[in-house]
């Protein structure tokens, strides 16, 4: 028994140094996009530049909150150089908290200005869109909702699921509605949605899975989740909402340089690399079907081509202003 304990401790002690090595020429990225998709890109960067990338990933299960909480708590002594968010909402909040350094990447010059902060605090690329996903066994073609505002109609009572509109892309979507529809109209929509027995679930993927498994007929989710279900040959189809109205919300990945990060120069090099057209093209070809913001790049399939979608016109500065009060309203009135 004693020998086993001594041997175990000895092995552990030997293993520890391998876990804590820190090379000098490095860059630290806090990355909300899954390692499966971002890992090869960062590996290429390492090979090309010789700069070691240390990545910290998050899980959508906690809605990027792990990384954001950490960045905020580390604000006085930042450990990260770059923040790669798989959407835009938290990036806007953190910009407001003064956590980013301005950096206008040369490689991002052909990304449309709509998707870039005018002062260079963040840059968008490779987007997802919010879509309506429905189960083809449970919803007839003639009753597929064409607008998210349709969700309040009696025909959809108890048949729609959405993620909690206080976290993730659903929170950003709620704030976008406040910007686009106005305060009174948005509040009315959410109150009526609640009255129509809308199911509130933990996340977009869970909502998509419920639709795929026939537990619920319709949900509001993201294109990557919808594509995942379609690739699994589930009986689902997706539609871009509000194509004859306000348009579908498009949420780009966003990248920002952390103020006071330990390797600022390497951080800028990494941002330049990630924002290159080649990188956006690689992301577009993955099963997450990220939609390139550069019109000249090929999309995953025609279904995921931004040029063929009516996009919701959104002022990201206004959206940022609405994020907090939108969450407060949702928490106080919709989730009560």
């Amino acid at each position: 028994m004693k020998n086993i304990l001594i041997a175990t401790v000895a092995i552990m002690v030997l293993l520890i140094p391998a876990c804590g090595k820190t090379p000098n020429n490095e860059v630290v990225i806090y990355n909300a996009l899954d390692e499966v998709f971002s890992g090869p890109i960062l590996k290429d960067f390492e090979t090309t530049t010789g700069i070691k990338v240390k990545m910290l990933t998050d899980t959508e299960a906690v809605k990027t909150v792990g990384l954001v909480t950490r960045l905020i708590e580390e604000k006085d002594n930042p450990q990260a150089d770059v923040f790669w968010n798989n959407e835009i909402g938290w990036t806007l909040v953190m910009k407001q908290k003064g956590m980013f350094e301005s950096y206008q990447a040369e490689s991002a010059r052909n990304i449309p200005d709509t998707y870039k902060d005018k002062n260079g605090f963040w840059t968008g690329f490779a987007a997802r869109a919010r879509v309506i996903l429905y189960n083809t066994s449970l919803v007839q073609e003639n009753e597929v909702p064409q607008s998210i505002l349709d969700f309040t109609k009696p025909i959809y009572k108890g048949r729609v699921a959405i993620a909690r509109p206080v976290v993730g892309t659903m929170a950003t979507h709620a704030a976008a509605l406040f910007v686009n529809l106005g305060e009174a109209e948005t509040k009315k929509f959410f109150i009526e949605l609640k009255a129509n027995d809308c199911k509130i679930v933990a996340g977009n993927m869970m909502a998509a899975k419920m639709v795929a498994n026939g537990e619920i007929a319709i949900c509001l989710t993201d294109t990557d989740d919808a594509n995942g279900m379609m690739l699994d040959n589930k009986p689902v189809k997706m539609v871009y909402p509000d194509q004859s109205g306000m348009g579908a919300l498009v949420l780009p990945n966003s990248i920002a340089l952390i103020k006071g990060g330990p390797n600022q120069e390497n951080g800028k090099k990494l941002i330049e690399y990630i924002l290159k057209a080649e990188t956006e093209q690689k992301l577009a070809k993955l099963p997450s079907a990220q939609m390139p913001l550069r019109a000249e790049l090929a999309s995953y399939s025609p279904m995921f081509n931004l040029a063929s979608i009516k996009i919701m016109a959104i002022d990201y500065n206004k959206l940022a202003d609405w994020l907090e009060s939108s969450k407060k309203f949702i928490y106080d009135e919709f989730l009560k």
């Binding site: 028994m1 004693k2 086993i4 304990l5 175990t8 552990m12 293993l15 520890i16 876990c19 804590g20 820190t22 630290v28 990225i29 806090y30 899954d34 390692e35 499966v36 990338v53 240390k54 990545m55 910290l56 990933t57 998050d58 899980t59 959508e60 299960a61 906690v62 809605k63 909150v65 792990g66 909480t69 950490r70 905020i72 708590e73 580390e74 006085d76 002594n77 450990q79 990260a80 206080v166 976290v167 929170a171 199911k199 679930v201 933990a202 996340g203 993927m205 869970m206 899975k209 498994n213 026939g214 537990e215 619920i216 995942g228 699994d232 997450s288 969450k327 928490y331 989730l335 009560k336």
Partner: protein, 524 residues
């Protein structure tokens, strides 16, 4: 044990608790009376609290009934494949409870396999009960947690002197002797495991979320993750923390006296009772049924997700770094927590010990407070100056894991330590044996079964821990739990299943090795 060692362990505990103290001080520095009034007057919070109380209470009750029954059957009756069944009992603890929930939704959800099968037979949607809601949450959490009770009770049943029960046979029936002599002796283990289940159930919101039921921990999540109000999150955590600590203190108050009987070395476990055919069928059938519901169905779900056996090999290559990281951190944290746990358990049982109540409350704090709070506390304490080398290394995770669950081995080992006759230690001391020899020759051997069960439970919890780990893992240092949750979101079911199966294999192997080393006596 000399005073220096006791002092060293108490200092270790205090160091582990520094982030907790920091968070308590910063959160309750300015009590927000208007907010508290608003919380109390809001009906939603009372409904959520009611849901949480319902789920935690009935999960604990059901887990204890099922767990104790299984432990008694395995330890006292001759049934086929008893040891195999015991090993299999580890699996439900290892499979994250949300997997269990998802597997059961696939089976008996609105469009589940069994639901549809029954629908075809009866031609109408028919299920005896809905998986959604509070009852469904109790059902799933019971399947996840009853093995904790079973394994801890088994450990207790093996730790007592069977000759006491045997003596009682002279004047009472076997059943009466069991209920009047043996059961009271293992009661600290049973109630202790019940408290552990209660703490885990009261803080779980993954399973209720999947089953569309809102519970009180959701409010803590909102405050932390939506509004970034750590102070308010801590206030919301107070009722749950108070309930958990209250349960632990009640347990300790009830069992504070040493049992009249003691454990020791060398005695045999009882010869197992031969059952009639029908009774054997019922007893084995009950365990098999529970294992089917808690192990085989979720496991079948996991295996069915694999494209081929190669998925396990490719996944192993994909996550080998994370697996090594997780195993290293969990192993070191387990050893540290065991060392602290057994010492704390010993200190608590010293005659005239004045700090035992205080020690229990202190050691329970990291478990009963939200994991995110502990994570933030660790960042605040260690992301600075001279301590940065800890923050940037695996040690920050080890500190977090050790602090988070250290009360669990303490409770389990306390149940065991309090059954040891102090005269054994006193005799050794009077004979001039140094303290470390007393520990190696008396304390550790006499507590070996409790040590094994603590090791397994702690190791599994440490491997699966997410809420603290995700906040403190150094860049470039990913763990398996973070990877599993992440891949699960991205619908990588095959890889997730492969990772769960790899973890299951490792933990069962560990249990088998430990058991073969310790259970040398064939009768055990």
């Amino acid at each position: 044990m000399n005073s220096f060692t006791k002092l060293a362990v108490i200092i270790c505990v205090l160091v582990l608790l520094l982030p907790v103290f920091y968070m308590l001080a910063s959160s309750f520095g300015g009590i927000d009376i208007p907010f508290i009034t608003e919380v109390i007057s809001n009906n939603r919070h009372w409904i959520l609290l009611g849901n949480t109380a319902f789920i935690a209470f009935f999960t604990t009750l059901a887990s204890m009934l099922i767990g104790v029954t299984i432990a008694v059957i395995i330890s006292r009756f001759k049934i086929p494949l008893a040891r195999t069944m015991e090993y299999l009992l580890i699996l439900p603890i290892l499979i994250p409870s949300y997997f269990m929930a998802i597997s059961w939704v696939y089976l008996i959800g609105v469009n589940g396999l069994i639901t549809n099968y029954l629908k075809n037979i009866f031609e109408t949607p028919w299920m005896p009960f809905s998986i959604y809601g509070k009852l469904g949450a109790v059902f799933i959490l019971t399947l996840s947690y009853f093995p904790l009770v079973a394994l801890m009770t088994l450990s207790g049943l093996r730790n007592i002197d069977f000759s006491l029960e045997k003596t009682a046979w002279l004047t009472a029936s076997r059943w009466r002797a069991f209920f009047r002599v043996t059961l009271p002796l293992v009661m600290p283990y049973i109630i202790g495991s019940g408290i552990l289940v209660f703490i885990l159930a009261v803080n779980n919101f993954d399973v209720p979320a999947i089953l569309l039921t809102d519970v009180f921990p959701l409010e803590i999540f909102y405050q932390f993750s939506v509004f970034f109000r750590t102070d308010r999150a801590m206030m919301f955590a107070l009722p749950l923390a108070a309930a958990s600590i209250g349960a632990i203190l009640l347990w300790y108050a009830v069992f504070k006296r040493r049992p009249l009987f003691t454990v020791g070395t060398g005695w045999k476990q009882p010869a197992k009772i031969e059952l009639g055919t029908l009774a054997k069928l019922v007893a084995s059938g009950f365990i098999v049924l529970m294992l089917i519901m808690a192990v085989f169905l979720p496991l079948a779900g996991l295996i069915s997700n694999l494209d081929s056996f190669n998925t396990i090999i490719t996944t192993l290559q994909l996550v080998s770094d994370q697996l090594l990281n997780s195993l290293t951190a969990a192993a070191i944290a387990t050893l540290a927590a065991l060392a602290i746990g057994i010492t704390a358990a010993y200190i608590m049982e010293q005659p005239g010990s004045k700090i035992k109540w205080f020690l229990i409350i202190l050691m329970a704090l990291p478990l009963v407070m939200p994991g995110s709070a502990l994570g933030i506390g660790l960042i605040k304490m260690y992301n600075t100056g001279a301590l940065m080398f800890i923050y940037k290394s695996i040690w920050i995770i080890i500190l977090g894991l050790t602090a988070r669950y250290m009360i669990i081995p303490t409770l389990i080992l306390n149940s065991s330590v309090k059954m040891i006759d102090p005269s054994l230690e006193n005799a050794a001391r009077v004979s001039g044996a140094p303290w470390h020899r007393i520990w190696l020759k008396i304390m550790i051997p006499l507590n070996k079964k409790a040590i094994i069960i603590s090791t397994i439970i702690y190791f599994i919890l440490a491997l699966n821990e997410l809420s603290v780990t995700i906040l403190v893992a150094p860049p470039g240092f990913n763990t398996l739990s973070i990877r599993i949750y992440s891949l699960y979101h991205f619908n990588k079911n095959a890889e997730v299943s492969a990772m769960c199966l790899i973890m299951a294999f490792i933990v069962i192997l560990l249990y088998a090795v430990l058991a073969s080393v310790i259970f040398k006596d064939k009768n055990e």
